[in-house]
Symmetry: C2
Subunit: 312 residues, 2 copies
Amino acid sequence: MTSAPDLFQSQLQETGQAVETLLDTLLGPAPLTRETTRPDRLLAAMRHGALGGGKRLRPFLLVESARLCGAAPSAALLAGCALELVHCYSLVHDDLPAMDDDDLRRGRPTVHKVYDDAMAILAGDALLTLAFDVMGRPEIHEDAGVRLELVTGLARASGLGGMAGGQALDLEAEGRYEADRKPLVLSDASIRQLQAMKTGALLLFAVEAGGILGRVDTKTRAAISSYGRAVGAAFQIADDILDVEADSATLGKEAGKDADRGKGTLVQRLGLDAAKAERDRLARTALEALSGFGVEADMLRMTARFIVSRGH
Amino acid sequence: MTSAPDLFQSQLQETGQAVETLLDTLLGPAPLTRETTRPDRLLAAMRHGALGGGKRLRPFLLVESARLCGAAPSAALLAGCALELVHCYSLVHDDLPAMDDDDLRRGRPTVHKVYDDAMAILAGDALLTLAFDVMGRPEIHEDAGVRLELVTGLARASGLGGMAGGQALDLEAEGRYEADRKPLVLSDASIRQLQAMKTGALLLFAVEAGGILGRVDTKTRAAISSYGRAVGAAFQIADDILDVEADSATLGKEAGKDADRGKGTLVQRLGLDAAKAERDRLARTALEALSGFGVEADMLRMTARFIVSRGH
């Protein structure tokens, strides 16, 4: 008999491989209608930034939420790839010397190290742009209105009022723009808002997109949104805890950098133990949000548990 | 009696002011549904990159093409603003030290000079993202399928097979990636393809978007596309000629920089006189493409003449 964690891991892995295959196709060399040509070097930089890495947690959440909401997993997978392209672009830009200045990502040199800053900027731009192209494709849903709701939702989750805005607030939290360059002391509420934007918005959108695809009623939508908000917040706290606890070898990136920079994390604000308690409280909130569902929500429940217990 | 050039200039100015007003609203402080908050500093950087400048030629082309194609100018104006947001993001990123390294744009310090590189990267990212949000808004067209065609068209024109790809090819044309760092010698055809992507794609899309909004027949669409391709190509050659001839004071940017970098322009490849002849030939091609239309296409005809005759 397969245990629940094994079932979850095999499902996560399977979806991850499907995402990889689909991204490989989406980033193929042949130009599409209305494209002139796909320049080799730019395409290679985009592929370096998008392929061969990550748990693909956002597409996984989207696919599993869609399954719960009665939408076709294959369509959800393509929407998940559009979302993943946005996540990948954000990593390519965040790693730039002008931003977080990271040389390693998942144990490999970052895009700007393999190519250069200019090509990394363009590769990020082009990954972001491609995301909206992909999200508009007819394979995702027969109703253009549904696809448009996904396009708009993705834009809002990613833009100035979402991920990009959260990253901007994070730069301020580092104290970059203080005259004496001291880190700002952020309140709990400010840190939570920053994190809800920086990482929470895309994770929430992943879950909500499943509901959009399944055209669920208001009550179901509220339940999955509540789940999405809680796992989004739990994910970031878990990440900050990992960053403090892990060493470079395990994590494949330079650990402890966030703390060095004085970024506003809840770990720093509350201490490690209180942060762990908060992470676990959020996981319980996520599970409670799904209390109206039966076994069909088990995969999302396992995802919430995975998020707070993962080692890397 | 108002002369044709006066009529054109007043129309261009009027649309430009309408674009400015609408962009000012789109970049207002209040968060939209699904946005958390709009961080002050990021919003200010975006506004610096998008407001107070330029002829707004792309929205103008879109509005005039839409008018010719029987679509409502007010809806076309909003679509034009979405397009202009993409243009503005590209300028913010192109001006970065890692890219073209320009300190001045339209006589003002560039975004990365006023803020810093990180904020300029994020401001560009968020302008690009906002463009797709705006292009999906119901005010643009009642039919979601039409808006989705605009979203996809904008993505293809802007991405790896369009503008971003053209910029990547341009970096290669500078010889950045040659071992001995000598400029590549590009063929006429390669230069034309590079330019069709780098600047032509957005100008062509501006014109085609009018046809999408007006749901024109295949023949009309082919005619305006032919016009759009020709004015796009003419625009870039005219720009390269201006760059060689103008001085910094007139142009508001550092003149002659392209030539210093050994970029592949047709001026450099063919010489100034032959480039001017080619620019004028393309303008004639643009006018011929409109030969099936009557006076209702006069504004687009004047636009073609303006593009090849403008002093700055």
